[in-house]
């Protein structure tokens, strides 16, 4: 059974381009221009993954509302925001509403496809016991590369896909400085420096929320970031 992806996007050219590339990957794609149409369809049948634009024609925050409504229908369906808006405020709002990732439209289609595949893998493998070779362990940090799940001291850290890949890139080689370009490459996003900074800040906060003593990500000013091995 092929997976069904819902695209909610008001710009027809982008909508069709995304739909085309996803169909080529073997997904079944349903595309909507309006929030009401999408919601009506979701009520009949839930998609396996939803790709939602925030501004939908005249409804400037329609994507946020749709995300909330979809989350109410299903707690598990992966949701990705894909928007031209890239302010911290929008990103934080989107992720708080329960989206799994927030991407700007700068992303290339191969990267988008890779993310979608990764999210499907994560939702598929949540129940399956893990194989040890896909586990990265750094002190209290355990990264499950198959499920794209992170744990700290045995407790789950809720990271978005982008954040997970960043943590992975840093923790893979502790002590090595990863510059912003390398982080962008590993997280498969194209953003400016300050967005990387705010991503790192968010990751730190999520770890500190679990463990106030968390101090593993160091800023190396002018160069990038480093994962410190715990003492």
């Amino acid at each position: 059974m092929s997976r069904r992806i819902a695209i909610v996007e008001d710009e027809p050219a982008i909508r069709e381009n995304y739909a085309d590339v996803l169909r080529k990957q073997g997904y079944e794609v349903v595309a909507f221009a309006k929030r009401a149409d999408a919601l009506a369809a979701f009520g009949t049948r839930l998609p396996d993954l939803a790709l939602i634009d925030i501004g939908l024609a005249d409804d400037i925050d329609g994507g946020f509302a749709l995300c909330r409504e979809l989350r109410a229908l299903s707690a598990t369906v992966p949701i990705i925001f894909l928007s031209a808006r890239d302010s911290d405020f929008d990103i934080v709002s989107g992720l708080r509403l329960g989206a799994d990732d927030y991407l700007t439209k700068d992303i290339s289609l191969p990267h988008l496809v890779a993310r979608i595949a990764a999210l499907f893998r994560r939702s598929d493998l949540l129940a399956v016991p893990q194989a040890s070779e896909d586990i990265l362990e750094r002190g209290q940090l355990i990264l499950d590369l198959k499920r794209l799940a992170a744990r700290w001291g045995g407790r789950r850290v809720e990271l978005t896909l982008t954040e997970f890949w960043m943590v992975h890139a840093l923790a893979k080689f502790p002590g090595h400085v990863k510059d912003r370009d390398a982080l962008m490459r590993d997280a498969r996003i194209v953003v400016d420096d300050s967005t990387i900074t705010s991503h790192i800040k968010r990751i730190r906060k999520k770890f500190v929320a679990l463990d106030p003593a968390f101090n593993c990500i160091t800023t190396v000013y002018g160069m990038g970031y480093r994962w410190n091995a715990e003492e």
Binding site: E11, A13, I14, N17, Y18, D20, V21, K24, A84, R85, D86, S87, D88, F89, T104, K105, D106, S108, L109, P110, V190, V191, D192, D193, S194, T195, T197, S198, T219, V220, Y221, G222, M223
Partner: protein
Amino acid sequence: MNRFRIALGIRAQLLLVLTVFLAIPWLGYEYVRELERFLREAQERTLAGTAQAVATALHDRPRLFEAQPAPLDSLATERRVDDGSGTVVRALELSPAPLTAASPDIAQIIHGLSRTTARIWVVDRDQNVLARAGSLKRPESLPNDGSESGFSRVRHWLEREMLQPVYARVLTQPTEDFSDERAGRTVALGKDVEGALSGILTIARRPTADGRALIVAAAHPIWVGDEVRGAVIVEETTNVVLAERNRAFARLFNIVLAALLIGSVALTLYASRLSARIRRLRDEAEAAIDAHGRVRGVVAGSRAGDEIGDLSRSFSSVLARLSHYASYQENMASRLSHELRTPVAVVRSSLDNLRLSPLPEDARVYIERAQQGLNRLTHILTRMTEATRLEQSLNDAERQRFDLAKVIAGCVDGYRIAYPQHALELTLPDAEVMVEGAPELIAQMLDKLVANAVEFGVLGSPIRIRLQRNELNIEISVENQGPPLPDEMRGRLFDSMVSLRSAQEGDEPHLGLGLYIVRLIAEFHGGRAFARNRDDERGAIVAIILPHAD
């Protein structure tokens, strides 16, 4: 522009205009002189009338003149000299008498007609004085003070002490202290007497011998039948007129002076208020725009209904529009990039789709080129939003205390890798330099400063980065060898969308946002940024002044 223009405030200008009213006292003076002329004429007419009335009483009463006049010298010390050619009486050292009469009947008649300030003489044909009544001198009236209220006492004091001396200078003061040489004579001489004796009503004016008073005399003939038997002379000093004139003048002048005084005070107060309001408006307008021409605040429009209120309100609306425009301009880059994102996404996703399709080999070249162009476009868009994103992130940036020296040292290590062709010379103080703020923003600021220095620096020349700990503040400076800054740009370098770079082919877009970001970060840390030329004019220095932590 006139270089020698005199700067006069509104107050001074209004007072200058007020000097026009100084013509009023002059007009008053002219008016009073006219009044004096009238009074004199009236006096003359009155005297003539009196003379005529007295003469009428004596007309055709030859008996009065027939009684040979008893010599008037009953009081002795008088000599009569008869030289044969008419009777000439020379009166010598006579003590003045209020009523002297050689002819008691006449004296009785004129006594009833005499007035207090006039003297009436009756002479016979030979100019011998037959009778005399009244005196030229009035008793000096004493100024009465006693029942005066406080205000009028002040007014009188002012008049007496300040104004009267001035008036006395301008106007002749009547005085009762004059020599009245005709007083005791038994023979009346003068044009008036001669005129009247020849049968004509004559009015003459003569000064006293000492010149202190002017005497007006009217002489009227006394007829008996067709024959002039004598004359009536009525004399009076002009003192009454002078006193009347002086009083009118003083009164007028006092009123004008008071009006002028009140007017000037009122105008001065009004002008002060006016200029204070204008000054306040000016200060507000100046404070509303900072040295960079940015609108800092908007003038609160005054509610006053006059022109200054209008001016204030239009200032307020102009500034509001200016600040809208400024914020429009500053947000333009961000909004533009936002608007451009969607079409760029269309192109990008189309290219990506194209790449995934089977294509002839030569088509791939074009896809690659299109992709390169798109990447540059994306880069430009990212840079355009950087400043706006920074402004947003400044709002919720967390402040912490950190060692600036450590951050700068770390950054410079990074730049040594990034710019291997430039020698970076770093000077740090020995001790740590604590500041309060966001280290990642300082790093971002330093990125911009060094990138700028590298771009403008002569290839291979050193770039000096210096951190100085001064007593009052901390200074970070980045110096490069290269072309000096043009003077006209120095104030605007740190504004949004201002760039020194000439449009040239290159792979980095120049939006003029780098130093704007530097300024935003410096201001976030409570500091400021400025640029200057090196002393030898062969390079530029951009410096940031930051305050110490606490």
